[in-house]
Amino acid sequence: MTAIQETAPVAAREPSRAWRKMKANRSALVGLVIIFFFTALAVLAPVLPIPDPLATSWSAIRKAPSATHWLGTDDIGRDILSRMIWGAQASLLAGVVSVVIAVVIGVPFGLVSGYFGGWVDMVISRVTEALLAMPFLITAIALAAFLGPSLMNAMIAIGLSAMPIFVRLTRGQVLAVKTEDYVEGARAIGLGHFDIMTRYILPNVFAPIIVQATLTVATAIIAEASLSFLGLGQQPPAPSWGSMLNVAKNFLTQAPWMAMWPGAAIFLVVIGFNLLGDGLRDALDPREA
């Protein structure tokens, strides 16, 4: 038992070393700041001194940015800044929830597939390969179309479409780890498969999964915006960056500001998650000292 316990502190020290490397990585910090900024906006939306995002005003239709409406107003006089801030909720929520769905379903399948091998692995791997052959966005659109348009269904559709990446990634990692001495040790002291998988293998394959998850949040945010842009995500009048762009494209000449801000926000948040993901990959990579 002690021999196994001794390997644990190494894993425990890992985050602090990774954190030091992260702090030295300026671009990852920029990513973190961007994410923090938008998360703060999304969380504080109810208490910020901004107009109601749903309040229409017939006297303020498609007004350019001004002192009263910093980012202008939309086609039915709603304040764009307010809708942007509330829209951050939908975007971030969709990005995170769909990746959670993908991880919660994908990782266990990958774990089981890599750990047990044999026909279980064969079946799971074949199905994963098939799912990976269906382009991500087309699968998400098709699923969302069949499930019916709503933000929740969009998240499910995106999560399921992103899931096979996590199965494949986890499986590969498990294959590399399962022959390690500490796994042998755990087996030798008679631990069950479930304990070995969750307590000994999972913690040691988690780093690349975190990296992939961060990068997938970026993809998922674009996917949610795409679905909402097509009318398959967040339903009006609730604000989301994608659906704001959908309306904005009809008023390009009269009110270009309507299209500018939501897209810029998606762009920025996605850059944030990509920077953080790349930074995490460098920080968690054991090959680089």
Binding site: A130, A133, L137, I138, L143, S226, G263, F267
Partner: protein, 315 residues
């Protein structure tokens, strides 16, 4: 080589079968009974029974699947609810448009990505490298449809240089065809160019530190010759494979781009089908993209073997 390709095609069959099960199951996700909708207002029991029998809906689900699959294998992907055209015919009609768009996007992304990747690798850790990396990151992060809207705003609305939408076949009026396609192709190319750049850069970095490059330098070749004929030729291999793999992704990426620029291709067909609840078309589109993706994967593997003299000998 033919044996190798044949083997790979055989391996693709189970994958395609699994995909077909998924695509078939999609229609089971639909709420409501499609037959009730088809039977009209009166809901005449005899009509309903006739329709159920006609579409094999009284059979167990696995039997229904076999009937459906039998149709797919013989090229019967069903009928579009909206246009009453066979789905396969619709797809084949729209595909050339999207292929033109994808090929143009591919050319643009290679024209941007490869020189940028070479430059970033040769000037590693300089300002040029950083700029190239930031451009690549932006290319990966920008939402296609927003970039499209912004380009229309700038190039078409404000500058009036290019048409904002429309489509002309390249065989009818090549100049006009390229004019209408160049902006969407550029939009589609951004994410791709970024990936091509990153792969070219890392492949070049790997090659530049190889012994034979040092030898080439030592024997006095010009930097240009060392970089282009000795290094790039060897770094090209992973880039070619990547290119073939990403071509499948281009088809998918075309969905929103075509929507923005109203190009009557495969992507627009998908979106229209989704809006019109034309589910047979949606299923056909998913199946066709998956088949296309598998074929491009195969092509990538074949190219990899063909371009790599060490592997070619093993065949």
């Amino acid at each position: 080589m033919p044996v190798y390709i044949g083997k790979r095609l055989l391996v693709a069959i189970p994958t395609l079968l699994i995909i077909s099960i998924f695509v078939f199951s999609l229609q089971k996700l639909l709420p409501g009974d499609p037959i009730l909708a088809m039977a009209g207002e009166e809901r005449d029991p005899a009509t309903i029974e006739f329709l159920r029998e006609k579409y094999h809906l009284n059979d167990p689900v696995p039997v229904q699947y076999v009937h459906w699959l039998g149709g797919i294998v013989t090229g019967d992907f069903g009928i579009s609810l909206r246009t009453n055209q066979p789905v396969l015919e619709l797809v084949m009609q729209k595909l050339p448009v999207t292929i033109q768009l994808a090929v143009m996007a591919m050319i643009i992304s290679l024209m941007i990505g490869i020189p940028m990747g070479i430059l970033a690798a040769v000037k590693k850790n300089t300002v040029l490298d950083y700029i190239a990396n930031i451009v690549a990151l932006s290319g990966l992060s920008v939402p296609n449809f927003w970039l499209g809207i912004m380009l229309i705003l700038l190039v078409s609305v404000n500058l009036g240089w290019l048409p904002a939408s429309g489509y002309e076949s390249i065989f009818v009026d090549p100049v006009r065809s390229i004019q209408t396609m160049i902006m969407p192709a550029f939009v589609l190319a951004t994410a791709l160019a970024a990936q091509v750049m990153r792969h070219t850069r890392s492949a070049m970095l790997g090659v530049l530190s190889a012994d034979y490059i040092r030898t080439a330098r030592a024997k006095g070749l010009s930097p240009r010759e060392v970089i282009l004929s000795h290094s790039f030729r060897n770094a090209l291999l992973p880039v070619v494979t990547l290119t073939a793999l990403l071509f499948g992704e281009l088809l998918a990426g075309a969905v929103l781009t075509e929507q923005i620029f109203t190009i009557p291709g495969f992507g627009k067909l998908t979106v229209d089908a989704v809006f019109n609840r034309d589910y047979a078309v949606v299923q056909g589109v998913v199946l066709c993209t998956a088949v296309g993706f598998i074929l491009m994967n195969l092509l990538a593997d074949v190219l990899y073997v063909l371009l790599n003299p060490r592997l070619r000998a093993t065949l």
